[in-house]
Amino acid sequence: MQGPLIDTLARQGVSRRTFLKYCATLASMMALPPAAGRAMAEAMAAARRPSVIWLPFQECTGCTESFTRSHSPTLEGMIFDMISLDYQETLMAAAGHQAEEARHTAMRDNAGKYLLIVDGSIPLGVDGAYSCIGGRSNVDLLQEAAAGAAAVIAVGTCAAYGGIPKANPNPTGAVSVSDIVKDKPIVNIPGCPPIPVVMTGVLAHYLTFGSLPELDDKGRPKAFFGETIHDRCYRRPFYDQGKFAKTFDDEGARRGWCLFELGCKGPVTYNACATVKWNGGTSWPVESGHGCLGCSEPDFWDAGGFYKALSVPADPLGFTAAAAMVGAGAGVAGGFANRAKKSTAKKTHEPVTLDDLEVPK
């Protein structure tokens, strides 16, 4: 009876006998024969850590950095106990074709069982030449890796919805993972970057329960993306009372009043920042005085300025002046036509005689 789980438990001060006794009692409670208790212990002890491959495409490595900030579970906790991170360009020791080799062996050994994590969007422009690794385009790499994956986790708004590379005018033809991978279960964890514990939380959920969490219509786990920031914001009462900060440093801002007038996109953004908060629950954008950018929504980069409130025009009105001119013009034209018609009617006026009053034959 040896294997990673036993070592893990040993490290947490759980002795082998305790583990065996636990398995025996469990079997008894499950009305299984005593022999089953031993078999269960064997199976659980020897479980291999699931293989995880992290492919970075058009990204800024913000998501990888955010991943390292997770405090429960910690990154080292995950690497040693929960997963086998077989390919991660920012952390792995090997480089060049050794790195490629590591990825291919991992994909071969765990075919159909490994988890593919993707951060960054995938450019389709110029046959994918906008972004290559090892001379191969991202599209090519994604399709190859996704083929053998058990599930794909698109981390960050770039991978989930196209993110900043897809922002208008999308010069590189960037698309999201779900635009390319159609035949695999995909979990989108948007955010720019996503909250650290949300990423590791979703990963831990998949590893411990072996199933994908409940997703919303945009493929986001409802556990973390079920409600809007606005609904969970601690400044919501000020919104209701109409107390708004007018600038970033007026009395209202210092009192922690609502940032709606400074462009906060909380009402239209589904994420867990207001509840889980950031970096060990220290703070989160609104608590530190800046409105929510709406970074977990598709196309939030093109949702009107970050400092334009939701009830303010996304871009200054362009047509008004011209429209006024055209309107006045039409009015004057109409006016002239009317007056002309009226004056001709007057000029051609035939005085009404008594005969006109007679009923027409």
């Binding site: 709606f260 007038e261 009402p267 239209v268 196309d299 409130a309 939701l310 309107g327």
Partner: protein, 219 residues
């Protein structure tokens, strides 16, 4: 097109087009109407206290004696939903923000809960008015498609606005987009339907008032 893109379109080009057509329509129709002009009344005018076009512009908002008793629904319902709409649009915080962004003028807002309440009362009044238009013979007889259409076009923004703030029925993003779009439709159709009375009633009351004022009758 997802909800956020719809909302952004509504807040961006949608609003631009709507305000454009609104301004175009208002100017066009106002000029077209009032350049028709009117002949000068050559009869010797008579002076009377409290009789002038301007007086009528304000006085005609009040119910003439006996009329309130004859059709209380029209008056009370009318006052309620017009005042309600005015409160929501001009004293609701997000709206004030929009106005100050477009015009630069700004003033303090009423709390959001109060605006919600006013919205409910306004919608109730409009529903009563609708019922009245269906049941009252004179109103029903007069009603054309335009009346039902303009009622709907005025009711939808209030409904969607209230639903958005209450986070009911649809996610906030979608409902806010629908709210803005319905308000834009209202702006677009206003100059070309009976909703234009919002502008022409001042001219009409003034003409009526001044014509009668010349005869010494304060109406």
């Amino acid at each position: 097109m997802n909800e956020l893109q719809l909302l952004t379109w509504a807040r961006g080009p949608g609003l631009d087009i709507a305000v454009g057509i609104f301004v175009l329509g208002v100017l066009w129709r106002l000029i077209e109407i009032y350049t028709l002009g009117r002949k000068k009344d050559l009869a010797a005018p008579r002076r009377a206290a409290g009789a002038s076009g301007l007086h009528t512009v304000f006085r005609r908002s009040l119910a003439p004696p006996g009329m309130l008793k004859r059709s209380p629904v029209s008056y009370i319902g009318g006052y309620t939903f017009h005042i309600g709409l005015a409160i929501i649009v001009f004293l609701g915080a997000p709206h004030i923000l929009l106005i100050s962004n477009l015009t630069g003028l700004s003033w303090p807002a009423l709390p959001a809960q109060l605006i919600d309440l006013v919205a409910v009362v306004t919608m109730a009044a409009m529903l009563v008015m609708l019922f009245d238009r269906i049941t009252k013979p004179a109103k029903r007889f007069l009603s054309t498609f335009e009346d039902w259409f303009t009622w709907t076009v005025t009711f939808l923004p209030v409904l969607t606005g209230w639903l958005a703030v209450q986070h009911l029925l649809l996610p906030y993003t979608t409902m806010l987009a629908l709210h803005i779009l319905s308000a834009e439709i209202l702006l677009i159709v206003l100059p070309f339907t009976k909703l234009f009375h919002a502008f022409t009633l001042f001219g009409s009351r003034w003409y009526n008032g001044s014509a009668n004022a010349r005869k010494g009758v304060p109406v």
